[in-house]
Symmetry: C2
Subunit: 140 residues, 2 copies
């Protein structure tokens, strides 16, 4: 709940992205659902508010927002893209039992090896997988 629609509108304008109802709603959804939703989850939920919404729009909107650096695509699974409105560097942990994705602080700067000197780094991702404490407890 950090942002109001007005904040989003200003940020879109500052990045030269046109304002549209759909884009605002996608941003609003992501800011209210920081559980790293899939494209389909975003689409299905917004459909209740925007009955004419097309999934193509959701894809293109998320692509445009990601290009502008306003959201971040998460490819922790190979069969679906998820999106995160938190663009500051952090790691993602996916519980293979319940499917939940957890954020954790990750010192990305520390990862930069001298092997990458001369490389232009545009995007950094840290993905861990395993079992979360809740699922570990349920097994016993």
């Amino acid at each position: 709940m950090k942002f109001t629609p007005d904040d989003f509108a200003k940020e879109l304008k500052s990045k030269n992205i046109r304002l549209s109802h759909q884009r605002l709603k996608v941003l609003e959804y992501l800011s209210e659902h920081k559980c790293h939703p899939t494209v389909d989850q975003i689409y299905t939920n917004l459909l209740k508010e925007i009955p004419t919404l097309s999934k193509t729009t959701v894809y293109s909107t998320l692509g445009a927002l990601a290009d502008a650096g306003m959201v971040k695509a998460i490819n922790i699974e190979d069969n679906e893209i998820r999106y995160d409105i938190t663009v500051e560097d952090h790691g993602h942990f996916k519980c293979e039992s319940c499917g939940a994705i957890y954020d954790f602080p990750a010192d990305m700067a520390h990862l930069e090896s001298e092997v990458l000197s001369g490389f232009k780094i545009r995007d950094k991702n840290v993905y861990f997988k395993g079992t979360c404490p809740m699922c570990l407890a349920n097994k016993n």
Copy 2:
């Protein structure tokens, strides 16, 4: 060329994975091509040696080898799985210009946050994207 077919055979046996010509060839291919090939690349190239090879076999073989920890799946792109025979922790950098994937040392232990205490971590991935030195040079 670190491994001979015999080495692979022993490792498969020790992990209770049945020996097959296809599995040995997939392992051999990965050990000779450390460029992180896609499933399709592995399939297409092995087809020359094994004309009856099925892509389903390549998928199931890679899945079994990955489950056994003998190879590692790389999901740096959302539209294709790549495989790496180097299973020791390291980071991957994908050049968005030429598509090449580079390895780099990554201190994964340093990434473990206290936020993840109580989590069972089974798999760690570090994916960077950007432009490699060669492509940066070619732009000028």
